[in-house]
Symmetry: C2
């Protein structure tokens, strides 16, 4: 008999603080146990489509169910359908890391349940966000003017897709009204979010600029594309530079692209969604040389900075055009602090109005790891990737398909697509590791992304043994 059933026609169906205590402690144990056992679980769920759904009732329960029942179904029904992004054998896509301090930050944020849409609706939510955004300007070696105390500033958005879409909209608004003639530029290797963002923002045209042999945008090709479009009566509006493409972590030449952008009056947005985290180590910052010619920049602590999704930082060099594009103030949001002009109202920095206190988990992570801790783990991941790349390079049957500037190793079997696909499938069917099979210029290759919170040399060694044994 549950606590609900025992009370008959109750006046409240809320779980009491004491029940929350009890189940909260249970869930903390559940999560800790998950952390301790995740490395033993098959990384990828092998359920069939519809099999989770089939086990769940077709309608919501009429009467309350006990939390014990809910946790039981979590174990029995949900968990078989979970693919374990937090496994140390996770080499797929890019990491989407969580970590203990981040989880605890999310817990506090959910408990407080504040809305940070305006400074006035919970001042600490805005000010802690300003502070961590400014800390990261220092940490990543971004221009000083990008701090909220300067003309620019940073804000937490949900994803790099949202950040990039925002940049495209601001660029579009700055350029005028003839959207159908506007052109957005990115490299052939740019993330799908650029194409999607440009389509969502209504751009008439998107150009995918050819890349060099290392899959980086060719400035001469960008220049030629812009000039050709201008000759055709179109309006070049924005160029997106990738620092670390999703395909192979290629690095577009930020400075050269920035010079062209400035010459032709384009907004210059940098997508460092994954690789931005590496910039906390000074030795990687040469990859983003030229930020003084950049208008906006995004990177995701929810990838490689041990902060769970969602947490994407979006910076602008000048916040005026951003606010001009996105500010609308209805009467029910009027307040003295906003009118004073002394505060930031983050609702004007993105599409959504509501916002939860996401800065808290990032603040917890930055303090709990310290800069030294973050650098240590990023350097470890990059060193492991470099080591694996070297082993692959020296193997007679394998070849790298792209450089390894950060934590991603891209390689294939020299016998071609069938051998490459078979190798990827063998790794993924092993159950303890997952890599992403992908395509480059129509040919198969394997992406090994080393950066999961819990991945160490032991796991990369084991992966290499399996690659070697199967090649």
């Amino acid at each position: 008999m549950t606590s609900w059933e025992s009370e008959g026609d109750r006046g409240s169906y809320h779980m009491s603080p004491d029940e929350f205590r009890r189940y909260g402690h249970d869930v903390v144990e559940w999560v800790a146990n998950y952390m301790e056992t995740v490395s033993e679980r098959p990384v990828v769920s092998t359920v069939e489509p519809g099999s989770i759904r089939m086990k769940l009732p077709a309608a919501a329960p009429e009467h309350p169910e006990s939390f014990e029942e809910i946790l039981r179904d979590l174990d029995d029904i949900v968990m078989p359908g979970i693919t374990h992004w937090q496994s140390p054998g996770w080499f797929g896509y890019f990491p989407a890391n969580t970590s203990p301090p981040s989880i605890l930050g999310e817990l506090v944020s959910a408990g407080l349940g504040v809305q940070g849409m305006l400074w006035a609706t919970s001042p600490a939510a805005t000010e802690v966000e300003e502070v961590v955004a400014d800390w990261l300007v220092e940490l990543l070696g971004l221009p000083e003017g990008w701090k909220t105390t300067g003309p620019g500033g940073g804000v937490i958005q949900m994803s790099a897709s949202d950040s990039t879409h925002t940049a495209l909209v601001v660029a579009r608004e700055r350029a005028g009204v003839d959207i159908g003639r506007m052109v957005a530029y990115a490299s052939e290797q740019a993330h799908s979010s650029i194409e999607k963002g440009a389509r969502v923002a209504g751009f008439g045209h998107t150009r995918f600029v050819p890349v060099d042999e290392e899959f980086a945008m060719r400035p001469d090709a960008l220049k030629a594309a812009i000039e050709s479009d201008v000759a055709d009566g179109l309006i070049p509006v924005v160029v997106v530079c990738a620092v670390g493409t999703t395909g192979t972590t290629a690095v577009d030449p930020v400075r050269a692209v920035g010079e062209i952008a400035r010459l032709h009056g384009l907004w210059h947005h940098v997508d460092a969604a994954y690789a931005g985290t590496a910039m906390i180590c000074p030795e990687f910052r040469h990859h983003q040389n030229g930020l003084d010619f950049v208008d906006s920049y995004t990177f995701n602590p929810h990838k490689w900075m041990f902060t769970n999704f969602d947490c994407s930082l979006f910076y602008v060099a000048d916040r005026a055009p951003l606010l001009e594009a996105l500010s609308i103030l209805p009467p029910y949001l009027l307040n003295k602090a906003t009118e004073s002009g002394q505060v930031i109202d983050y609702r004007d920095w993105h599409v959504p109005l509501g916002r939860r206190f996401r800065a808290l988990k990032l603040w917890f992570v930055l303090r709990s790891y310290g800069v030294a801790g973050l650098r240590h783990h990023v350097r470890e991941h990059v060193a492991l990737a470099a080591g694996l790349a070297e082993q692959i390079e020296q193997h007679p049957q394998l070849e790298l398909v792209a450089p390894t500037p950060f934590g991603l190793v891209s390689f294939r079997h020299i016998d071609g697509d069938i051998a490459t696909d078979a190798l990827a499938m063998e790794i993924n069917n092993s159950g303890w590791a997952y890599v992403t099979p992908s395509k480059l210029d129509g040919r198969s290759f394997i992406r090994v992304s080393i950066g999961q919170t819990n991945t160490t040399a032991e796991h990369v060694d084991r992966l290499w043994e399996m690659i070697e044994a199967s090649s």
Copy 2:
């Protein structure tokens, strides 16, 4: 000495599962204590701009800090800057409720750290979301075809602003390419997210249609606006109907607007962000009569359904135009499940690519409360609002400015703006309650939103005593 300092040149800076246990239990106690004391805290933070920021260091710490230090700063620095949306004295804006089962769902989701962008990247994340979206179709009395098993379907987005923006983009894409000539329609009382969404989506024109004496859109005025725009060579594309406006919870005539939308080929989107939750009670569903002439619909469990932000449901009657507008599939996201066409890939249902497992907290809430529990609390809030409205109506110095169909009471002092503003300020300065001072047709009024998770008759009585004493 912290655990970090004691280990010197450590190999890992991660908090161990055992440390997570220890601090996790501390944070559960912290949140439970917060629940028990929130009613005693001054609802609105009175800190000065910059005062939180001033107490935080200008740079991230070089070395790890202990979790004890972090929690101490949470108490000492952050909490004074928190405005308590979870206080039972919260009558401001609309509620942004959290609840114990929701918090626990968020905790599990943060611990699992899965990415649900594709079905294949964690099947349970997608299938639980399908199930709860379908449950809510039943619960809210929405058309059967809006289930994911039909031609339509529901998806969790971050906010109603995002849902509405998505609807506007889909409508725009369906209409063609000449964005500058496109027109979006909503009432003069529509939420700012409509105007913002239309601007972000690039619409050349937004029309604010006049309302009747109850602040609901006038269908004859909509029809006239459309015909006038067509005569001027513009392209009417989309109309947004509010079921429960933010200003006064006015209800636009969904059926009449739908008939006009159908006649002129407009996309018809319904914004029930706040009031959608009331539809779990059949007696309120007459407010949304005519859903068979609706193309998309949004409501936010993160307002009144005890599920913490972010959790906005977005439904479409037909998912084909949505997917056509938003699907882009790069090679690194190819997979067999997607190719089979047997699964939903929710990334194609909104702008962002990444997505956390938000369905879990909603599933926890629906099961923990049961339908009976949700109905009980919604009915209680609406009854409290009706009671307060009656008291105001009978008071010689006060007058209602709008009907009270749900949980919002809108009223003013008959002596005018100065008396009304003074009354709002007196309530808000009391420290234990918060109402939103707003404007309607240029005149001040007070919004009392009754719907916070913990608000009961006791709190509304106390508010009324204060209103009466000051009027």
